[in-house]
């Protein structure tokens, strides 16, 4: 089957019910997207499917019907996306394992809602579990990212 990931088209030979998460990680080698629970309860595997934040462990490869963007496609260490730049500036990460998913969820939120209020931020990130407890900094980073995106 064919998948477009981060602007590149890939032909992959996998079972249609293999979750997109494992296609990304183990077949395409895009390990920035993380496995945390496999049942859509932690958000570590959040990617964009057609611009919408989805949990890639809950999307079967055969159901992928739009281009996929992963954390690697959002920005790079050399050229971080404004959301990533905000995450760096606020120093959100502790262990960092959930942050790819947090950032992808935040980027999708800000693309849709450029000036989210506190409730909208919490709602958009509600599924994204952080065991280290970086929530206060995540909120601050989303607000900073909104400013950065507005200023262009």
């Amino acid at each position: 089957m064919r998948l477009t990931v981060n602007g590149t088209e890939h032909e992959v030979d996998v079972e249609p019910d293999m979750p997109l998460l494992w296609v990304l990680r183990d077949v395409l080698g895009l390990t920035g997207t993380k496995y945390g629970c496999g049942i859509g309860q932690c958000g570590a595997c959040t990617v964009h499917l057609g611009g919408v934040a989805v949990q890639s462990c809950q999307i079967a490869a055969g159901d992928v019907d739009a281009p996929v963007t992963t954390i690697e496609g959002l920005g790079t260490p050399e050229a971080p996306h404004p959301v990533q730049a905000a995450w760096i500036e606020i120093q959100v990460a502790q262990c960092g394992y959930c942050q790819s998913g947090q950032i992808m969820a935040a980027a999708a939120l800000l693309a849709e809602t450029p000036e989210p209020d506190a409730t909208e931020i919490d709602a958009a990130l509600h599924v994204n579990l952080c065991r280290c407890g970086t929530y206060p900094r995540i909120r601050a980073a989303v607000r900073l990212a909104a400013d950065k995106l507005r200023e262009g």
Binding site: T31, G36, E72, I88, A93, G96, Y97, A123, H126, R131
Partner: protein, 745 residues
């Protein structure tokens, strides 16, 4: 495991280009305190200045042997060295180095000693020094107990200063200028005439010198890095998905593995049929391992699917099968097995002879660590060498485990320590590394990456033990007059150290830590520990014994203070015997506007705990809404001696508060038929962003001993929350998780 056969002996070079995101450090010499001045096998151009500073042609590498679990260990270790070495943090690389006794932890033993942190007497001092020596003697390279900063504070700065002195000596000889006339700046030695010699060009000559016997450390007023906000060295990687954790390891021809083992650890396998699994797409092999099976496949998902397809009949749990029976086993210890009575002041029997004003029983449940990255390890056995890559808090024990399984000599087993997607104490166990070694052995030369499913991770955790406390007390004239607390729990130390093969003796202070050692003077005051039999194998969980015992101590204290009609802050201050602790209490009172009126339905709760040498006080503010309890704000104050990185301290304190609250609200492992009933984050609930209150933190720095703050903010959170709910609703909650009794919104 089968015999080794012939092994081609050769030097083991760790890391190198094989480690994604890492780089070579080669075999380097480890000098003091493990005198082994070997400089053989050093790649050309590489110089070793102390076990912590390696310089090659490409630049300066700082060795940061304490494991990065998210707590910022790598950055603070690098900063401690770099401060004295005079080099900016963005000009160095870091490497965890090889597991080695030189990287022993001098502070890890002291925490378990039966001396309170407030005890500055001679006997306690001698015992701590002995503990330091024991850590050194045994080469205990362990990350834990909030010791990375206290252990490294002097040692790492000294290493940086020694390396700098060696570079200055080398420059002095090269230039013919007296050492006293040379200065250093930004990775170079500067001569009076402005000549700059970079550390890289001086390294080969400096590496041939002996380490100086004495160095003078900078006065903190001269610090350029320490004490100021730092950018974490891993922050860019962790914000761009480019950090490489254990679960992200790769190698040519690598097999993806998982395991499925008896959810009742130790129950064994009665029968199994792997034929269907073995026929599944991508499955290379199903391997029998202790207590279950491992699957080698061509991707993780296929391995997961195949593991589930193996038909297995598990043996029964070798411990009481359900939660009720497990608690009965703990409760039984009150009658039979007294483990310690480290606090026994005044005459508690006489004080309580006329009956108690408060008499209550408290309970806490078993808890999973559940770091978001499940257990993972990479192992590759080729050419007679076992290469391991894993996130671990106990690298030397893990190497020993691999050696025990394979029979390989020490120089043919290498372990490269990786950053962890959380640990919270879980990776103080090496069971998953043991499995990876077995699977790599079975993989016949191919590299293997083992990834546990979340279900495996939760079922096979070594949880924080459940515990029960019975408290009694009396009040007189508006004051707390007597407090008697008995705690029953299985011994974490015996369970965990038993697996590591480290003998334990005497009482287990973890059973009473955070309760017996609190800085209060009550006329009659007693804390007794009772050791319950080991049932479910248990281990250290962020803040260990204090995670349970602060809930017991501070709930009972709150009940007594309310019975006395006193103010929770004023009465604690009146009872407090330790000036730094009193300052922490005063500061949290000030920060939280303690004593100012709150609207009806709102309440404040206060709790205090001195753990890991850090007094920490927290105030939780809640509102009892029609829909349930909402946590509005939390105020936390801790005394850390000296703040080395204000941003990281804020992050750690907020994270500790959230960890404490999250588990107080929802966390529990319950058992039925010998297995945990929670298998994933749908049933093992944890705090989400929407439930997270505003958290205001303050770190005090009295200039006393420098302490670590990864754990101390955890213990006060649960009792502060329960005490706040009492203040808001009048409902006294004596068992965790609180969500069993109230609803949180």
């Amino acid at each position: 495991m089968a015999g080794m056969g012939k092994i081609a002996r050769r030097g083991f070079l760790i890391g190198a280009a094989t480690v994604a995101g890492g780089f070579a450090v080669g075999v380097y010499s480890l000098r003091q305190p493990y005198a082994s001045p070997l400089s053989k096998d050093l790649p050309p151009g590489m110089a070793v200045l102390t076990p912590y500073v390696v310089i090659d042609r490409s630049g300066v590498i700082l060795i940061t042997p304490r494991a990065e679990m998210g707590q910022g260990a790598t950055t603070i270790q690098a900063a401690l060295i770099a401060e004295e070495l005079d080099i900016p943090l963005d000009a160095v690389r870091t490497d965890p180095g090889m597991p080695a006794p030189a990287y022993y932890n001098s502070k890890i033993v002291a925490e378990g000693l039966p001396f309170a942190a407030t005890d500055t007497g001679r006997v306690a001092g001698v015992a701590r020094e002995t503990g330091d020596m024991l850590g050194k003697l045994m080469g205990l390279q362990i990350t834990g107990g909030s010791t990375t900063v206290p252990d490294g504070y002097d040692r790492l700065r000294q290493a940086g200063a020694m390396a700098r002195a060696m570079l200055i000596t080398a420059a002095s000889r090269r230039l013919g200028v007296a050492e006293a006339e040379l200065t250093t700046e930004a990775g170079a030695v500067i001569a009076p005439d402005g000549t700059r010699l970079s550390y890289v060009e001086l390294a080969p000559a400096a590496g041939r010198l002996l380490e100086p016997r004495q160095v003078t450390l900078k006065d903190p007023s001269e610090w350029r890095l320490l004490g100021k906000p730092m950018q974490r060295l891993d922050i860019v990687a962790k914000s761009t998905g480019t950090e490489r954790y254990g679960i992200d390891q790769t190698a040519p021809g690598m097999l993806f593995a998982t395991v499925r083992t008896n959810p009742a650890r130790g129950g064994g396998v009665l029968s199994l049929d792997a034929s269907r699994a073995e026929a599944m797409r991508g499955v290379v092999k199903v391997v029998r391992i202790p207590d279950g099976i491992g699957v080698l496949a061509d991707n993780t998902w296929r391995a997961f699917q195949a593991a589930q397809a193996v038909e297995i009949e598990w043996g029964p749990a070798p411990w009481p099968a359900d939660t009720e029976a497990l608690f009965e086993s703990i409760a039984g210890a009150f009658e039979t097995r007294r483990d310690s009575r480290l606090k026994d002041e005044g005459d508690i029997k006489a004080a309580l002879a006329g009956g108690a004003d408060v008499e209550a029983e408290y309970r806490v449940p078993f808890l999973a660590h559940a770091p978001l990255e499940p257990m993972t390890a990479f192992a590759w056995f080729r050419n007679g060498i076992m290469e391991l890559r894993a996130g671990t808090q106990i690298p030397r024990f893990a190497v020993r485990t691999a050696r025990r399984l394979t029979g390989l000599p020490e120089d043919l087993v290498g372990l490269y320590a990786l950053p962890m997607g959380g640990s919270f104490g879980r990776r103080l166990e090496d069971d998953f590394i043991d499995q990876a070694v077995r699977l790599a052995w079975a993989a016949e030369g191919r590299p293997v990456k083992l990834t546990w499913s979340r279900e495996e991770d939760m079922a096979r955790d070594f949880p924080r033990p459940a515990a029960i406390a019975r408290g009694r007390g009396r009040v007189e004239g508006g004051k707390v007059a007597a407090m008697d607390l008995a705690i029953a729990a299985p011994s974490v130390s015996a369970s965990q150290m038993g697996r590591l093969g480290v003998p334990t003796m005497g009482p287990d202070t973890a059973i009473v830590a955070g309760a017996w050692d609190q800085p209060f003077a009550i006329p009659a005051y007693r804390v007794t520990g009772h050791r319950a039999p080991e049932t479910v194998p248990i281990s250290s969980w962020r803040s260990v014994g204090a995670s349970a015992n602060a809930f017991f101590h501070e709930s009972l204290m709150d009940e007594l203070i309310h019975a006395a009609g006193a103010d929770p802050l004023e009465e604690r201050l009146r009872l407090c015997t330790h000036a730094p602790s009193a300052r922490v209490l005063e500061a949290v009172g000030e920060l939280s506007d303690w004593g100012t009126p709150l609207a009806p339905g709102r309440g404040r709760g206060l709790a205090f705990c001195l753990s890991f040498g850090v007094p920490c006080a927290e105030v939780v503010e809640v509102t009892a809404e029609a829909r349930g309890i909402r946590i509005d704000r939390v105020f936390a104050v801790a005394e850390v001696g000296r703040v080395l990185d204000p941003v990281n301290i804020e992050n750690q304190m907020q994270g500790g508060v959230i960890w404490g609250l999250s588990h107080a609200m929802w966390g529990e492992l319950t058992y039925a038929e010998g297995r945990a009933e929670q298998e994933n984050f749908d049933s093992f609930q944890a705090m989400r962003i929407g439930e997270c209150p505003e958290i205001v933190v303050r770190a005090l720095e009295s200039g006393g001993p420098v302490r670590g703050v990864g754990e101390p903010p955890v213990p006060p959170a649960a009792p502060a929350l329960a005490n706040a709910i009492f203040a808001a609703t009048g409902q006294r909650l004596r068992a965790l998780p609180l969500a069993r009794a109230v609803r949180f919104v």
